[in-house]
Structure formats: structure tokens, C-alpha cells
């Protein structure tokens, strides 16, 4: 096998066959659904389905705490999980840049395989394309995921009421700051580490609370601030967040402060923001804190009556202010 991806690896000929057989089928075509056809035939689950698609273009594609493969599987599975579904099936399409090393490709494929196994999700179909050097940044991945809805969970911002509590399962902004430090080669030691991880155990652990769990979301791009706005937008509700309760890793916070970033705007890839009935908030926190994914779980705010659609931060020093959505490209400040 050659050391780097060539255009011919996407050409449909012998090289492509070798790539698919040696690297892809070898990893993923090992179960009853077998040999990774263009169209997978799936058993009918007898429940309602959740269906999602996602594209991953992260640069660099390997970063402290994870890589694009783990990110792709978790990102897809987590979208299903926070919709109240158990992640089941995954399609993976790879867009490889000519010149990508086989060693790097293998690391990413191993990571996809390991993460899917960790979740219990099966890769059942996929596609591979190769583009000329310069037309992709190493590799891109697109995925589609199918999950089965968990009975008894009815999630959505429309279920949120005054008096509910806002909970987060762990530290904010680790993924975004880890990628930014890696991308810009910022000399930070220790560097922030991505939190990329599956969140389905957190969701499944609170399914028994039923309707007392109103809403869940993974705060990816746009971070906690975007999720908070999504919850109250267009409703006669406001969210008050408590700055001193927001969980943040010291390293991540330091980097964010140096760069002038707001951690509430920065992506996580392994956290859940949940809104739950006040009567179960403590139990949800206790449940999550007993799990490795939820050790940092905390109540961070409240749903209150009031001017509709507002997200307010009670600051550590006793002031208060609005929390805005992020405005697009996160630009470092000059000083």
C-alpha cells in the first residue's frame, strides 16, 4: 500500500478497491449487516426515528483530545441523543485530499471505529472521494445518523416553563478553545483539551424522569449562548444564568481571556444543556455526577417570567447584563 492518497484512489479502479477493502471494509464490514453496500438494508425498529446529517471540516483534523473521526461520530450521535433518541446507524462519506498520508487516514478511521463501538452505533454505508491537492484540508467527513426515539421523553423548547432550571453536564468551551489553540499553534501549556465525547449515556440516564425533562441540546457551534436563546426565542420567558455557577476549566478560561473570547459562545462537543422541572433538578445533577461524562454537572440558571426572549447573566460581582448570540466569525481582539 502506498504512503499517501493519490487521485486514483478515488477513480473507481484497482487502487480504490484496495483502499476500500484494506482500510474501510476491514474496519466496518464486520457484522450481520455486512459488506457496506451503497444502500444498507436496515431492520424496521418499530419506533419513531430521529434522522440527522452533519459535515465536518475541522482544521486541524487532529487536535488535543480528539480528531475529525471521533468528532464526526460524536457530533452525529449527539444530535440524535439530545433529540431523545438512541443512536443506531451511521453513514460516513469521506472526502480525501490528494497527498493525505495513509497513516493519518488510518488514525481517523480507527477513531471512527472505536467511537462508533463505544456508542453502539453501526457504520452501515458510506462513500469515498478524492479531490486534488489544495481542494480540501486533509480530509472532510459527512455523516448521516439514524436513532430510535426513547419512549417517554418529549423534548423541545415548547415544553419549557417558568421555574424550570437550566443545567449543563460539564465544562464550557473546551473543544472550541482546544481547536483554536491547535489551529493557531498558540504556545499554551498545558493546552486546552477537547471535550469531544458521546452524550447518549447522559440522555439515557435521565429518560426515567419523563416529562420533567423539557429540553436537551448539545452546545456545539454558538455555545451555551445560542442554546439559551433557542430555548426562549419567541416565548414569554427569559433565562437568567449565574456566572459564578458556570463550569469552566482553568486552562480553557485562561486562553479565552487572553484571546478575548466569551466561553458562553464557544463550542463544546461532549456536553448537554438541559432544562428540567425544578423538582427533579437535584436528582438529575446527582445522577449525572455519578457518571464519567457528567462529573461537572451543575445548575447554571433559571427560566423566569419576563421580557420575552432575553438571556441575562447575573455576574460574579453582583452586576447583570444581557448575553447575546455570537455574531459569526470569532475574531481575536487586538489587546
Amino acid at each position: 500500500m502506498s504512503a499517501a492518497i493519490q487521485l486514483a484512489h478515488g477513480g473507481g479502479g484497482a487502487l480504490m478497491r484496495e483502499l476500500i477493502d484494506a482500510e474501510i471494509r476491514a474496519r466496518f464490514a464486520d457484522d450481520a449487516l455486512a459488506p457496506l453496500p451503497d444502500a444498507a438494508i436496515l431492520p424496521s425498529p418499530g419506533s419513531r426515528l430521529a434522522f440527522t446529517t452533519d459535515a465536518f471540516v475541522v482544521s486541524p483534523f487532529e487536535f488535543p483530545g480528539g480528531d475529525i473521526g471521533r468528532l464526526a461520530v460524536c457530533g452525529t450521535a449527539n444530535d440524535l441523543s439530545v433529540a431523545g433518541a438512541i443512536p443506531r446507524y451511521l453513514s460516513v462519506a469521506l472526502i480525501l485530499e490528494e497527498g493525505l498520508s495513509f497513516a493519518a487516514l488510518r488514525r481517523v478511521l480507527d477513531s471512527i471505529q472505536a467511537t462508533a463501538a463505544e456508542i453502539g452505533m453501526r457504520v452501515v454505508t458510506g462513500d469515498t472521494k478524492v479531490v486534488p491537492r489544495g481542494q480540501a484540508d486533509g480530509l472532510y467527513i459527512t455523516t448521516t445518523g439514524i436513532g430510535e426515539l426513547i419512549d417517554g421523553l418529549r423534548l423541545g423548547p415548547e415544553h419549557v416553563r417558568t421555574g424550570d432550571r437550566v443545567i449543563v453536564s460539564g465544562n464550557l468551551g473546551d473543544h472550541g478553545m482546544a481547536v483554536m489553540c491547535a489551529r493557531e499553534s498558540l504556545p499554551v501549556h498545558p493546552a486546552p483539551k477537547s471535550d469531544v465525547a458521546p452524550v447518549h449515556p447522559l440522555v439515557e440516564a435521565v429518560a426515567s424522569f419523563g416529562d420533567a425533562v423539557r429540553f436537551m441540546r448539545d452546545p456545539t457551534r454558538g455555545g451555551l449562548a445560542s442554546v439559551a436563546h433557542e430555548i426562549v426565542e419567541g416565548r414569554p420567558l427569559a433565562i437568567e444564568l449565574d456566572e459564578s455557577a458556570l463550569p469552566v476549566a482553568p486552562t480553557t478560561q485562561s486562553v479565552a481571556e487572553i484571546l478575548g473570547m466569551e466561553l458562553m459562545h464557544v463550542a463544546c462537543e461532549g456536553r448537554v444543556v438541559a432544562v428540567v422541572d425544578n423538582t427533579v433538578a437535584d436528582e438529575v445533577i446527582a445522577t449525572w455526577r455519578n457518571m464519567p461524562q457528567g462529573r461537572g454537572a451543575r445548575v447554571i440558571g433559571d427560566v423566569v417570567d419576563g421580557k420575552s426572549g432575553r438571556v441575562v447573566l447575573r455576574t460574579r460581582i453582583g452586576g447583570q447584563r444581557f448575553v447575546d448570540r455570537p455574531s459569526g466569525e470569532l475574531l481575536p481582539r487586538i489587546c
Binding site: P250, I317, S327, L331, R333, C335
Partner: protein, 367 residues
């Protein structure tokens, strides 16, 4: 962070808040609200992020001054940088410059059309970019106040001594004291005191504000942490109650009376005072720094034969009045309607340090 948390302590903040309220209540009822200008953009940001305005009594107003380097950069400067990019130069710049409106375009729009614009975190990255692409001219956008100028000057020094032939600098450095004097001379601007910048003062020294204190304006140098700012406000009110005005350095853990002599020396070697055009304030004599003629080889204007252009700001944009503290951001007709952080019309909305952006993002959160 454990160190910084000491400057964000809720109990200490509550105590300072009570002292401020007490001082404010003892100010004469006849006088209108006390108008304090926080000069520096990083103070504006910190005040907004910590929700400090919501903690102050109603007769204490914080006015944001012209201390965001991006906000005061004139449109003609952006036009000149755009022209250099169109001539093939790679532009290296601090991030928030890319969205600053020139007369008709921004560097972000030019980048989408194919211009090369590298956003950097440290000016030293300009050297690496220039060395990576030795056949291409690289222009570093050398803007900022006295805080930023020494770091850029250090890179100028490297470029000049190590011979980086394809790197030059488009300068628009600004100086804080001349701008404060211009504000004091403006009869339309009514200010009672200055909350002086933290890091600018680390370079120029607290003594630089003595002329303003001598003219009857209390000047308090404060750090950027929430407690620093509350402490600074409290110190200003105390001076006013005592009927005094002097320079009070409340940020002595960083700022010395004489400033940073090495930085001043390096700046003086490469830069000289020049008249500078400030967005909103107009041209202020000797309020900027340009390269000395003997370093014209690294001066982008000389290298490209392109003196900085005049440029025209959007006539409806009231950034000028905002920068002078004459109006609050929300009083500008464009604020929050056509002018937002996503689609900024004026520079005060562009930079996260800008007073309009800070107000838009963080406005007094009285829910």
C-alpha cells in the same frame, strides 16, 4: 485563574458597591449626574461583561471614550490597506481590523474576493508569514495605542536588523494624552473625571495624566478586573467629594509613575509623533506615531508609493459623537437597526471593545 479570582470576589465587590453608593449619595443634589469617562476600550468591555453599569447609582454615569484602537482608525487607512492588498500584498492584521469599514469595502469583503489577509495574535507572526512567502510583499497593519506600539516596534526592529525585505508596516498608531486634551478642549463634551487606561499607562506612566489633573479633572488609573474598576470609580468619587483632582494610580501592581522606560526608548528610536486622523475626532496635532524617515525602507506607504488616503465615513454613522461621549450608542439612529455586530456600519460596532458593540451585546441587563 486563582490569582485573578481575587479581583472578582463577590463580597469585596458588594463592599465597594456600597461605598460607591454612599459617596454618590453625598454628592450635591444640585449637580447633575457625575460623568466619568473610561478612556480605554478594554475598560468598556470589562464594564459591560461584568454588568458594572447595573451596579452603579443613577447619578454616576460611565461614558465610553475613544480608547478602542480599531474604532478610531480612519476609513482612509482601511482604503489604503485594501489598495495594497489589491496590488498583491498579503495583509497581516489583528483580527478585529478585518471588519472595519473603509469608504466602500472592508478587508473581510476583499478577502472573500481573493485578497490574502492573515489574522494574527502576535505582531511577531508577521515575520513568519513574510518568510513563508518570500516572493510576496507583506504589510502589517500597525495600529494601536501606546500598549500595542512597543510590541510592533520590536517586530520592526527585527525586520530592520534581520533583513526581512518583503515586510513593511502601514502605521496608524494613536496616542492617548493628546486625545484626552482634545476632549477637554471640546466645549460640547462635559466630563467630570477620567478613569485612565490600564495597559497604556503601564507604558506611558501615571505621570502622563498630570496635566489633566492640573486642569481640575480627577484622573484615576485602574486595572481591567471588575474590582479594579469599581475601586477606580470609588476613588474618583472620593476625589470629587473632597473637591480635589490629582492623578491616583490604583493599578500600581503594574503601572509605575514613569512607565516602561525600555518600551519608550524602543518606540522613540523607530517612531516619531505625527498629526493623526481619528475617526470621529478629526485630525489632532501630534496625536499619532509614524515611522521615522530613516526607516522608510519598512514604511509601506513609501514602499508602495501610496500615502494614506482621506476616505469618507458613512455620513449617518455617529461613531464620532459616541467616541466623544456626546451621545450614548443607543441614541444613534443606526444603532441596532442597520448597524449591528453582524453588519457593522461604524467601527464602534466592529470591535468587541467598541462602545456600540459592548452596549449591543451587554446592555444594562435589567430583566
Amino acid at each position: 485563574m486563582i490569582y485573578l479570582n481575587g479581583f472578582r470576589d463577590p463580597l469585596a465587590a458588594a463592599a465597594l458597591r456600597a461605598r460607591i453608593a454612599d459617596s454618590a449619595s453625598r454628592l450635591s443634589a444640585e449637580r447633575g449626574p457625575v460623568r466619568l469617562m473610561e478612556v480605554c476600550g478594554s475598560h468598556t468591555m470589562a464594564i459591560a461583561r461584568s454588568g458594572i453599569k447595573a451596579m452603579l447609582p443613577s447619578n454616576v454615569e460611565l461614558i465610553s471614550g475613544p480608547g478602542c484602537p480599531v474604532c478610531v482608525t480612519a476609513p482612509g487607512y482601511v482604503d489604503t490597506a485594501v489598495e495594497m492588498a489589491r496590488r498583491g500584498a498579503a495583509i497581516v492584521t489583528f483580527g478585529d481590523m478585518v471588519r472595519v469599514p473603509g469608504t466602500s469595502t472592508t478587508l473581510a469583503k476583499e478577502r472573500a474576493r481573493g485578497a490574502t489577509v492573515h489574522v494574527c495574535y502576535s505582531p511577531a507572526e508577521a515575520i513568519a508569514h513574510a518568510q513563508n512567502e518570500p516572493d510576496r510583499e507583506h504589510v502589517f497593519l500597525a495600529i494601536g495605542f501606546e500598549t500595542t506600539a512597543p510590541a510592533v516596534t520590536a517586530v520592526m526592529h527585527q525586520a530592520a536588523t534581520h533583513g526581512i525585505p518583503n515586510l513593511s508596516f502601514l502605521t496608524a498608531f494613536k496616542l492617548v494624552p493628546p486625545a484626552l486634551q482634545a476632549l477637554m478642549n471640546d466645549p460640547d463634551v462635559a466630563l467630570d473625571a477620567f478613569l485612565c487606561p490600564a495597559h497604556v499607562s503601564a507604558i506611558i506612566g501615571a505621570d502622563a495624566y498630570r496635566p489633566f489633573a492640573a486642569q481640575g479633572t480627577p484622573c484615576v488609573v485602574a486595572g481591567f478586573e471588575p474590582l479594579d474598576i469599581l475601586d477606580g470609580v470609588e476613588a474618583i468619587l472620593r476625589q470629587m467629594l473632597d473637591g480635589r483632582s490629582f492623578v491616583e494610580n490604583r493599578y500600581s501592581r503594574v503601572v509605575k509613575d514613569g512607565g516602561n522606560a525600555r518600551a519608550q526608548e524602543l518606540m522613540a528610536r523607530y517612531l516619531r509623533p505625527i498629526d493623526a486622523s481619528w475617526r470621529g475626532l478629526g485630525t489632532i496635532p501630534e496625536s499619532g506615531l509614524g515611522l521615522r524617515p530613516e526607516f522608510s525602507t519598512i514604511d509601506a506607504e513609501v514602499r508602495f508609493g501610496l500615502p494614506q488616503r482621506e476616505g469618507k465615513p458613512n455620513p449617518k454613522c455617529l461613531c464620532g459623537d459616541v467616541l466623544k461621549g456626546k451621545i450614548r450608542p443607543a441614541q444613534c439612529p443606526l444603532f441596532g437597526t442597520v448597524c449591528t455586530p453582524i453588519q457593522p456600519m461604524g467601527p464602534c460596532m466592529v470591535s468587541s471593545e467598541g462602545s456600540c458593540a459592548a452596549e449591543y451585546r451587554y446592555a444594562k441587563g435589567a430583566a
